[in-house]
């Protein structure tokens, strides 16, 4: 399976090139794809007869089904070990199944927030849910890719659907602007990734990650310029998707302009899938042989993301932009787990991604509700007085913000603890100090929002004695959005108080590259 023209004419003549297709191995991705396309078909058959609640229910059930399909596979993998399927291009291991679960969780949250959002904004459309499901299918494909080509196609499925989702609020110019910006820059970064894949293919003679791993273990390349250039370009492509500094410039603008429920998925599921692809390529494939070459580059990305993300977040006045910069600083933390390039580091990164998905879904979920019709009330001033008019919502948001800051008894604390532990274990103590410093700086930002919700008086000096009141129309909490917020809240707290089970699962979710077992004909 080395090279594009690996089959000799003899092979072709003998018909000796068939691989078995294992449907069960790709079941989670298949369920998401079929769920999306079936929804499209159902909608065109029963035009106008379906309520919008049906779309939400369908999406939640399909994403839940994908998780359910992943569970038996997980037990399989834990008992019989990882395997490669579909001509060695799909890697079925604990890692890919764990990431599948996290992406589906992110889809469920986005669907629950979308339900009330679409009604409030008077937007039509099952297409939001279709694109969400298909995008998740791309993310799952990417997380389980054992071939750079499959990884690239998965990445494109994931991203193009999200570019469209970012621009789908047809009544807001800023949404369309965000979509265009995201698309142009994203297409640019995809080109870098593709260029990197071409270079790696040139350097190793294959796009299959298993074959690359074996090739590099067996051979020492004396002149490896091509491979190094390929690694650098791959890093640019992944750096854009995970929004690491200096490839982060799109993030605040796109997060601010895109519809807020979509941002919960963009900051959650998309980033999880991109990190999964990055860990698969850098840690698992190139980790054993080329770690000393890529580590300095990723080190620089991590330091820059931690510092710039925390510092830039402080000077923002728009809450969505603040959360965007804080997600950049989170990317820096997750990069620490990647940098460790060990099983412990990968497990820490996975646990962080799980907690991060809940935190980010909750935070942007609250921002969805506060934005009110038009999705535009996102300035710090718009949150003033929330503690009085909606105490429950304010308390929930406070918990999410404190979790992001890494306060003990929340999942955010454990997540930060594990990645820093992994990085110290790998001997990078300086980086651990930088990370802790950055956590302190970003704590200021989260507290600033909390202070604005609870303590800040009204701006008019005459009324400064009066309790601050929320300006604008009242904040309504749709049932499903409330349910989603409750679920995220419970998850964030549970992961902080009883992290044991989740860390055990993350620890079992090891990524392995196993050659495909040829089935005798």
């Amino acid at each position: 399976m080395i090279g594009l023209l690996a089959h000799t004419p003899d092979d072709l003549a003998a018909g000796n090139f068939s691989h078995s297709v294992s449907w069960s191995a790709i079941a989670p991705a298949l369920i998401l794809m079929l769920g999306g396309i079936l929804l499209l078909v159902i909608v065109s058959v029963f035009r106008g007869k379906l309520s919008s609640g049906f779309f939400t229910a369908w999406t939640v059930i399909v994403a839940g089904g994908a998780i359910a399909a992943a569970i038996p596979l997980w037990h399989d993998v834990q008992e019989d070990g990882a395997r490669s399927e579909m001509a060695g291009s799909v890697g079925l291991d604990g890692f890919s199944l764990f990431v599948t679960g996290v992406i589906c969780i992110s889809v469920i949250f986005a669907a629950l927030f979308l339900d009330g959002y679409l009604r409030r904004e008077k937007l039509e459309g099952p297409e939001w849910y279709v694109l969400l499901l298909l995008s998740a299918a791309g993310g799952v494909t990417m997380a389980s890719a054992n071939d750079l080509l499959v990884l690239f196609v998965g990445l494109e499925i994931l991203s193009i659907a999200v570019y469209i989702l970012a621009a789908m609020h047809s009544r807001r110019v800023t949404s369309q602007e965000a979509g265009l910006k995201y698309f142009v820059l994203g297409a640019f970064s995809s080109a870098f990734l593709l260029y990197g894949i071409a270079f790696v293919y040139g350097g190793t003679g294959t796009t299959n990650l298993v074959s690359i791993n074996i090739f590099l273990a067996d051979n020492v390349i004396t002149q490896n310029g091509l491979l190094l250039a390929g690694l650098a370009l791959l890093l640019v492509g992944f750096g854009f998707k995970i929004a690491a500094v200096p490839f982060h410039l799109w993030t605040p603008d796109v997060y601010q302009g895109a519809p807020t429920p979509v941002v919960t998925y963009m900051a959650g599921g998309v980033k999880v899938a991109a990190f999964a692809g990055m860990i698969r390529v850098f840690v698992v494939t190139f980790g054993p042989t080329y770690v000393n070459e890529w580590r300095p580059m990723v080190y620089a990305l991590a330091v820059l993301s931690l510092v710039v993300g925390a510092l830039m977040a402080i000077v923002q006045t728009n809450v969505k932009r603040m959360l965007a910069f804080s997600s950049i600083s989170h990317a820096g933390f997750i990069l620490l787990g990647v940098l460790a390039s060990s099983d412990q580091g990968t497990a820490a990164a996975l646990f962080y991604l799980l907690v991060y998905t809940f935190m980010v879904a909750g935070s942007f979920g609250v921002a969805t509700l506060i934005g009110r019709t038009g999705d535009g009330r996102q300035n710090l001033g718009d949150y003033r007085g929330l503690g009085r008019s909606r105490p429950g919502l304010a308390l929930t948001f406070t918990v999410f913000l404190l979790a992001q800051a890494g306060v003990p008894l929340t999942g955010g604390f454990m997540a930060k603890l594990y990645v820093i532990g992994a990085i110290v274990e790998s001997g990078m103590t300086v980086l651990a100090l930088i990370a802790m410093l950055s956590a302190v700086i970003s704590a200021f930002l989260y507290l600033r929002i909390v202070v604005s919700m609870y303590f800040e008086a009204s701006t008019d000096s005459a009324d400064s004695e009066e309790p601050a009141e929320l300006s604008g129309p009242p904040v309504r909490i749709p049932k499903l959005a409330g349910l989603a917020l409750g679920l995220a809240l419970v998850a964030v707290l549970a992961l902080g108080i009883v992290p044991g089970p989740a860390t055990r699962v993350a620890g079992d979710a090891t990524a392995e590259l196993v050659p495909e077992v040829e089935v005798p004909q």
């Binding site: 023209l5 000799t8 090139f17 193009i160 570019y163 091509l226 535009g376 996102q378």
Partner: protein
């Protein structure tokens, strides 16, 4: 000099010249036509490597269909001759772009020159090229065995593209909630009226002195 090297140098030069034309010409139609030159150069390179099927696909799909689509878009939307070229959002960004471009080229050259094989233009293949098996068969076999999964999931990509194109071209019947000047969506209904006014003014400002627009401009001037 061997024939292969000669073919490589000539078609490589055509590719580079076409690529420069895409960037440097002022007229968008010339840009699109320069792209055809690049794509033809690549097609010749494919022929030199014995990949006749890929060469044909390169000409039919890229030079034929895609560039024609570009030209359709350019002609239907009427891109202005030097629309965005003079505008420099960040001072010195063009110099920075040149530096980054040159360093990228330098990196690629170093990567190429440091690899063991020097460019010769000679055909490169890992399997012996057997004239008995046409390359269409080889590509088909590779596509439907080793790369079957990547091939099949491309269908999802195409579905997304269709859904997206339909969604984004649809206009919302509802009132817009914000404008570019007031992105926070305040005073939506009031701004909607103002937005219509500014859109008329914009069309007068940006478009060239064509007769139809000149009339609107005169009307607008008269009404104020």
């Amino acid at each position: 000099m061997r024939v292969e090297m000669f073919v490589f140098v000539v078609s490589g030069a055509i590719c580079v010249a076409g690529a420069l034309g895409v960037v440097l010409f002022r007229n968008p139609v010339h840009n699109a036509l320069s792209l055809v030159a690049t794509l033809f150069g690549v097609a010749v390179l494919f022929v030199a490597q014995g990949a006749y099927f890929l060469a044909a696909i390169q000409v039919i799909v890229y030079a034929g269909a895609i560039v024609v689509l570009f030209l359709f878009v350019i002609m239907l939307l009427g891109v202005d001759q030097d629309d965005d070229v003079r505008f420099e959002p960040i001072p010195g960004i063009r110099i920075a772009a040149v530096i980054v471009g040159i360093s990228l080229l330098g990196m690629s050259l170093i990567a190429l020159l440091s690899s063991p094989d020097v460019v010769t233009g000679a055909p490169s293949a890992l399997a012996p090229l057997d004239p008995a098996t046409p390359d269409v068969n080889r590509i088909g076999a590779a596509l439907f065995t080793d790369y079957i999964y990547a091939f099949e999931i491309t269908a999802v990509l195409l579905t997304i593209a269709v859904v997206g194109a339909v969604m984004l071209s649809r206009q919302s019947p509802e009132v817009p909630l914000d404008t570019e000047e007031f992105p926070d969506g305040t005073m939506a209904s009031e701004l909607a009226i103002r937005r219509e006014e500014t859109s008329v003014a914009d069309s007068v400002d940006t478009d060239g002195p064509e007769p139809a627009d000149a009339e609107i401009a005169a009307d607008a001037a008269g009404s104020e």
